[in-house]
């Protein structure tokens, strides 16, 4: 395989024009596709499912060079759909592709077959080494939801080329597990812009280290994460938006996030029993001078703390306990428990003196 790819760079489109009547026909007609420039043909190849993309190498010497110089886009759902009965064949195809393609990998999406514990752990570690070596940019790793949360190989943090990382149904390696996770503010993922964690488990310290180690991180999204980590403490010089999508933690503390513009909270049901026993998610805003949009805040689900002041009904407004930068506020209110909830709503409003847009969602 290596030998095969080593010939790409040196090969020119010259020489051996063959006229095999079985394969070529219509010599007199124009080859309309080959007049397009390389980068256009490359993007056409990248839109094909991975096997078909590789097969274009057999079209002509120019196409062979194109496939190998094309950033890899691989979504294993294409392979699974074309081969639902033989998952192990899919694994082998992924491995072959990763080895065969010289990189970079623009987008890789893997959702399969991490159930056969020992063997698959080796396979996944092997893949992650290849992903790191061949400069993966966008990576989505999804485990099988019912397989139990396996531990991700810590070497994932060696993929320094990552720009977007999406993790579903995984357990993040516990910190202090040796492998490169010590050392506080070390830069881990210098290009990472977006991190999405779905139904996954990550400890407070690990999340802090990943955020602190990603100096370009703009968006952090937690989807259906319940109670782990217990607290999210944000210290980031680059973060612009944080999303809690059906996710709950005990405390979200914006300790220092000078560029943070949006805190998006979306909790339609009551996951993890929040609100039932009176416990609420504490949102603590210490330093977020750029914060423009916040919501949906729900007085039954959220407790607001600005600086050192916990916002409570009946307590007087403290001049310091306001966030003047917020222009867009979203509230969700249950009017069934009217008196308490609506007083809390007005108390929330007092904390944001410069609101220009107010969204109110009324819950039955």
């Amino acid at each position: 395989m290596r030998r095969f790819f080593s010939c790409f760079s040196s090969r020119s489109c010259a020489a051996t024009t063959v006229s095999d009547p079985d394969i070529t026909d219509g010599d007199e007609e124009d080859d309309i596709i080959s007049r397009l420039p390389d980068d256009v043909l490359s993007s056409i190849v990248s839109l094909l499912p991975i096997k078909e993309a590789a097969r274009t190498a057999a079209l002509s010497s120019r196409w062979r060079r194109l496939w190998a110089s094309n950033p890899l886009v691989l979504d294993d759902i294409d392979l699974i759909l074309s081969n639902p009965r033989h998952v192990s064949a899919v694994t082998n195809t992924v491995t072959s592709t990763f080895i065969a393609h010289p990189g970079p990998f623009r987008s890789v999406s893997l959702r399969t077959y991490f159930s056969d514990a020992d063997k698959d752990k080796y396979v996944l570690r092997h893949w992650i080494r290849l992903l790191a070596a061949k400069r993966v940019q966008d990576l989505a790793l999804s485990n099988i939801p019912w397989a139990g949360l396996d531990v991700l190989p810590p070497s994932l943090l060696r993929c320094r080329s990552l720009q977007r990382l999406r993790i579903s149904d995984w357990r993040f390696f516990p910190g202090g597990d040796g492998d490169s996770m010590s050392g506080g503010a070390a830069v881990l993922l210098p290009r990472l812009r977006e991190l999405v964690l779905s139904r996954s488990v990550i400890q407070e310290g690990d999340l802090e280290r990943v955020v602190a180690g990603s100096p370009r991180l703009r968006t952090l999204v937690l989807v259906m994460n319940c109670g782990v980590p217990e607290r999210v403490r944000l210290r980031s010089g680059s973060l612009w938006c944080i999303v809690f999508w059906q996710s709950v933690v005990e405390e979200l503390a914006v300790v220092s996030a000078p560029l943070l513009e949006r805190i998006i909270l979306q909790t339609s049901a009551l996951p993890c029993g929040i609100g039932r026993d009176g416990s609420r998610m504490r949102i603590k805003i210490t330093a977020a001078s750029a914060l423009r949009a916040l919501g949906y805040l729900n007085p039954n689900h959220h407790q607001l703390q600005i600086g050192d002041t916990v916002i409570k009904v009946g307590k007087k407004v403290v001049p310091d306990a306001v966030v003047p930068s917020v222009k867009v506020l979203a509230l969700s209110v249950q009017f069934g428990v009217r008196s308490e909830a609506s007083r809390a709503v007005f108390r929330f409003l007092e904390c944001f003196p410069n609101i220009e847009t107010l969204h109110v969602l009324v819950i039955e």
Binding site: M1, F4, C13, T16, T17, V18, D20, I23, T24, D25, G26, D27, E29, D30, D31, I32, I33, S34, R35, L36, P37, V40, S43, I44, V45, L47, L48, P49, I50, K51, E52, A54, R55, T56, A57, A58, L59, S60, S61, W63, R64, V73, S82, H86, A89, N92, T93, T97, A100, S107, S109, D138, A140, R164, R166, T219, V221, C241, V243, I264
Partner: protein, 186 residues
């Protein structure tokens, strides 16, 4: 037929443009003039945006010597249709993007737009889009070509596009062996 219809449309646009003056005039390699909304042109084409910003737009028709009239008509048609299309839900909620796909699927009207084109017209349009730096139109047309290749063997693809096979039999056999995993049909 199609050309005539397009001509009528272009003239119609020109009438509106006179009242408006929010348009630019583009001239094809064979000297035909087309009007397109300045806003749409600047939004959809990085090259036209640069020309508009740099003031190098000619009121009597900016010369686009690399683009024939049929392709330019399709470009202008695309710009106008794009300006009138309803933005998709994905576009509206673009403030939070969970989408890691490098390419957004064509919308229904975009699909229809490229489906009606002949092979020649399609490839001319790809070249025009590439020349004008129209990323979205390039994506949509490339997507169409990839659709035409899907599910076909290399031999069939060569036949559709008249691609010249410059391999020897031995070379071809070598490739098939080296990429056996891709040729093996599951």
């Amino acid at each position: 037929m199609e050309v005539d219809k397009g001509k009528g449309e272009a003239e119609e646009t020109r009438k509106v443009a006179e009242a408006d003056r929010d348009t630019v005039t583009l001239k094809s390699s064979d000297g035909k003039l087309f009007e397109v909304s300045k806003e749409a042109a600047a939004r959809l084409s990085t090259v036209l945006a640069g020309m508009i910003a740099g003031g190098s737009i000619d009121d009597n028709g900016t010369d686009l010597k690399q683009i024939g009239s049929e392709a330019l008509e399709n470009v202008v048609d695309y710009c106008n249709k794009h300006a009138n299309s309803i933005p998709s839900a994905a576009l509206i909620s673009s403030s939070i993007s969970f989408n890691t796909a490098p390419f957004k699927e064509p919308e229904e009207w975009e699909r229809k737009f490229v489906d009606r084109l002949s092979h020649d017209a399609l490839f001319d349009l790809v070249e025009a889009a590439n020349f004008l730096g129209m990323e979205r139109l390039l994506d949509v047309t490339c997507h169409k070509i990839s659709e035409m290749m899907k599910g076909k063997s290399p031999d069939q693809i060569r036949e559709v596009f008249n691609i010249k096979n410059d391999y020897t039999k031995e070379e071809l056999e070598e490739i098939r062996q080296e990429l056996a995993w891709a040729f093996y049909d599951d």
